[in-house]
Symmetry: C2
Subunit: 95 residues, 2 copies
Amino acid sequence: MPSELENCMEGLIKVFHRYAKNGNLSRKDLRELMECELANFLRSQKDPGAVDKIMKDLDANGDGQVNFEEFVSLVVGLSIACEQCYQMHMKKGMK
Amino acid sequence: MPSELENCMEGLIKVFHRYAKNGNLSRKDLRELMECELANFLRSQKDPGAVDKIMKDLDANGDGQVNFEEFVSLVVGLSIACEQCYQMHMKKGMK
């Protein structure tokens, strides 16, 4: 049976390939992924151009698509931000 | 209800904090995490010193501990490697 961490990694791959129609995420694919999988985050951006900006940031090799490695850097950034909120929340809980 | 991707990110944070006794992973914590959460990967290394080498690689700021950001880089590396296997497997399946 896979461990929780193995399930998380498998989940990242499955989510990516659910939206990456041809193996990579086009702009349209990325928008769909974010609207479905990161709706809260997208809404918190309050910027209609947020997806385009994120696309530009993620598309490190400038091929107009986001491959898995580029996608994972988005997940890393969001996870690190969430973990810092988690730590602050834990510290507040201890006061 | 959280999306699958949000669950994956939450899972990374929960797994990290399950083993990071004082907020970061000591060498012992990392060994325990890997033996429980990445047993297959660890076994595939066939190197008794694998955990020590990984600890050295991950501990980017050299403080003898692995923080969440350093831990996530391990997850990224493994996910990218798994995803490449996934792609090869898919391509073989199409032949």
